[in-house]
């Protein structure tokens, strides 16, 4: 066997690929579901915390800042392992899927809160004053004037963060979740051939490439009309 043949036999072995494709497809579905659950919950919680923070209730804001910094500082894998292997000691058993979802949701919540908050505070003070001077209330001003502007500013960094964190779904394979990477890894151990990993990489590309393109599209769509 030449080196090239050895390479294709290892990474592009058609027989092995065909055999494990169904498992990878199942893993693909699982990764999509996990990612969507993380994005929905993480962004919603992040926005909620940022909105609560605008009310400037001191002790509450300190708590928010603490929680946010905590989950930005901890490596996501550490949180997953803590939830999965640590919580049972406290009598709470989480499945690998739920532990991964919760951990990455908390991380996305923390990072997106910071991004939403930065977006809200970057809106000029004059916008608040103009709106309030016409008789709009605090919440109305926030909702109709400040938030729409803040969200536009946040879209590029938010898209990047969201992609980075949802890619962390691969970590779920550590706690026995048969996501794309989990399924690919299992395939490698059974077949003694790394081709399933190639399939896994392709699956990740298929999943995230459109997301990256979508992010770019949203970014241009939301630019101010000139």
């Amino acid at each position: 066997m030449t080196g090239w043949e050895r390479f294709t036999d290892s990474f592009f072995n058609a027989r092995v690929m065909a055999q494990y494709l169904p498992k990878i497809i199942d893993g693909f579905g699982l990764t999509v579901v996990l990612a969507l659950c993380i994005i929905a919950a993480g962004l919603a919680l992040g926005l909620l915390l940022a909105l609560v923070r605008t009310f400037s209730i001191r002790p509450l804001n300190w708590l928010i800042i603490f929680v946010v910094d905590l989950f930005r500082a901890l490596p996501p894998l550490v949180i997953i392992v803590l939830l999965y292997f640590g919580l049972p000691n406290a009598g709470v058993e989480l499945s690998g899927f739920v532990a991964s979802w919760l951990a990455l949701t908390l991380v996305l919540m923390a990072f997106s809160e910071e991004i939403f908050w930065a977006g809200i505070t970057s809106v000029a003070k004059g916008q608040w004053e103009a709106a309030r001077s016409t008789g709009l209330g605090f919440v109305q001003t926030l909702g109709f004037v400040v938030l729409p502007q803040a969200l536009r500013i946040t879209i590029p960094p938010l898209t990047n963060r969201t992609i980075a964190i949802t890619k962390g779904t691969a970590l779920a394979s550590v706690v026995a979740v048969p996501d794309i990477l989990g399924a690919a890894n299992a395939g490698v151990s059974f077949s003694f051939n790394p081709s399933p990993l190639t399939l896994g990489a392709i699956a990740y590309l298929v999943l995230f490439f459109p997301v990256v393109v979508l992010g770019r599209w949203i970014e241009t769509r939301f630019a101010w009309k000139r």
Binding site: A130, R132, S133, T134, G135, L136, W224, K225
Partner: protein, 251 residues
Amino acid sequence: MSTTTGRAPIVEARDIHKHFGHLHVLKGVDLRVVEKELVFLIGPSGSGKSTLLRCLNRLEEPSSGSVTVDGIDMLDPKTDINKARQRIGMVFQSFNLYPHMTALGNVMLALRKVLGLGRAEAEAKAQAALDRVHLADRADHYPLQLSGGQQQRVAIARAIALEPRVMLFDEPTSALDPELVGGVLAVMRELREDGMTMVVVSHEMGFAKAAADRVVFMADGMIVESGLPAEIFADPKHERTRAFISQIERH
């Protein structure tokens, strides 16, 4: 035109003090503006003109004193401040239009959300307000598609659409290129002719001479003197005023 006695006071501010930390910015200011009066507020930078204006609609909370606008006690905690602010239009140096809304959207927002008008009615009123500032044909333009002068006129339309009892202008033309100032002043002139009560902070002395009923000179957080434009500009009583006027006229 300058007899202001006998007309109802729209704005009555008494003994306003304002502290920012240990900075004493307003030191007992009294200001009374009667119906249909145009009061022109001048003074050196940092003398507290903007702060006084912002105390009138409570964008800034006075440290002490009282403010009554159109009979409403603005500082009473029981006063619905959002409702009270509908009666006080404000125009800012930096326009502060909402960049994500068209000119029409900017004017409609408070009509819809504060007055609670239906879409059609709000749109008609907003369109009429834009017409008054001669921008009816720019209704669907976004702020960034408008010149500074047009943006400021949309900001005026946004305020007058609510049919306020008094309009506050804080250096409405200071951010504009010289060739755009005239259009904004013309609109303010028309407002005045329609009988709007106005308090104007500005360095446009020509406008003051032509349109103001009264000029108030402020320095160091206090009103130094106030009188007819002719008196203040030609024959100021105080040295501070004289120095300020001659410095401005040199520019």
